[in-house]
Symmetry: C2
Subunit: 326 residues, 2 copies
Amino acid sequence: MMPHGTVEVQTGWLTGGVITAANLGELGEFGLIGALGSWLPAGPAVLIGIGDDAAVLAAPDGRVVATTDFVIEGRHFRRDWSSPSDVGHKAAARSLADVAAMGAVPTGLLVALAAPPDLPVSWLRGLTEGLAAECARVGASVVGGDTSRAPVVLLAVTGLGDLAGLAPVLRSGARPGDVVAVTGPLGHAAAGLALLSAGLSGPAELIAAQLRPSPPYDAGPEAARLGATAMIDVSDGLLADLGHIADASKVQVDVHSDPLIRTYCGDAVSLTDVLTGGEDHSLVAAFPPSVTLPPRWTPIGEVRPGQGVTVDGDPHPGAPGWDHFR
Amino acid sequence: MMPHGTVEVQTGWLTGGVITAANLGELGEFGLIGALGSWLPAGPAVLIGIGDDAAVLAAPDGRVVATTDFVIEGRHFRRDWSSPSDVGHKAAARSLADVAAMGAVPTGLLVALAAPPDLPVSWLRGLTEGLAAECARVGASVVGGDTSRAPVVLLAVTGLGDLAGLAPVLRSGARPGDVVAVTGPLGHAAAGLALLSAGLSGPAELIAAQLRPSPPYDAGPEAARLGATAMIDVSDGLLADLGHIADASKVQVDVHSDPLIRTYCGDAVSLTDVLTGGEDHSLVAAFPPSVTLPPRWTPIGEVRPGQGVTVDGDPHPGAPGWDHFR
């Protein structure tokens, strides 16, 4: 629905040149596309990268894992709290963690970016640095995207990955008797948000957990190799995400408060944070009891016959789910 | 950055039940996710579909083609002009055409959808019907997505596809002597937009070309098999998109007005529409002169040494590019 007689710009990202504009309005869309292309290096899985109608990635396994997530200013980040690089790291982490939670190795991201014309070019540069750096943690890269205009910064990030011969680890395979274990922080991103909301800037570890989560991506394929029966990344909160596993697997998951308190709680991190705080993008999985877990996996509960999620055997009076539309 | 103590909803799409709510606000996010899942059938390439952290699609070729595009209310469609099914068709077509323009067969779509709470459930139902129907034209399906809230309807659609053993057809392979040919309409979507803007509702074929483009997806792999040296889908306008091929291939493309006028112009379709109108998502490709083109491919020009795009040998005083940020 472009105006009659004009031409819409192409939607791939091209490689580009030197940037002299101060903001997105001065840069223009072709300039933005060129800039983004020149700032984003291509990784080993990229056969055809930024600059054509579509990217081509290696999918040596013969299957591709794919997921997409919004990252919206005011909802997932605030520009007065997050550096642009933070936003890039967080936007990449949301999708890369979903790929890892299937037991796959992330290979590439597609980034659709809408933004206001007064967005500084330096902010965009920081964003792409964060995206590229988070991708580099797993050998993935940004391979394409799209650009448009919006009143706030809005990203839709698609993550792609390869299973390397392993069966995908679903939410639906947990069985009574399985051990439930976590790797990565729990409740730290929520505690960091509470600190920021109170105008505090520390402890730094908790602020960083909110602004720049650092998921243990390689633990996803590790869990698949160990024989995990179910896995999910903790984006909604531990109880909510275990609820998804319990529902899909038609089992009950009982979590034990002792190891949770011992491992995750602290001065600024409550058990409620640990049980219900989202956005840590840690991995929680169910393993057959015979599996010897590597040290980074902390057993925190067990799978039982039944339904729903309990804490120390009792139902938890949990908070209702976050709902974007209510 | 969810509120402390609440849980964010999971971001996959689940299968769901009966819908009684009238709008998105009543339905809620979990309801929306369930509804979308239940309305969207899974196709043959879907190994793991809606309802887990990520989808898993077959990628039998060992490579995957991937592209993402925004489709934004007020920019790419208007709800008073387009039915919800139209929007679904158009949103799917934008990404599926990019996949086809690489010479690949589309296999799946990921759809990130943000919308206002007062959006009627019936509108969402129509949207998903359009998405699914357009996917079904090529045997693809919607395999996942994300949902969030926005003041307007906003989609970010990722298309995935398989090359089936063929080399991808890039923008960069056109050589002097190649024949340039098109399949699908040119200028019809732009002519339809002009009619709608003037308050007219016909000719129906041109209105439909704007509201519900119907790209010739299977012509993409066909062109690859025929040995096309370069290909692009006409989303920006013929001259603009041939300009991308000319730039990437370091050649000049000369288009001939005679076959364009004969084949595409009409009472409501001007040569300017044909040369500069976007959104038809037809395919334009360069072929070695030895190739015998099937009848649906119309030769419209040739590749020469040089640079840029000419019409009948002369530079075209073309309209400037559409720029979202200026």
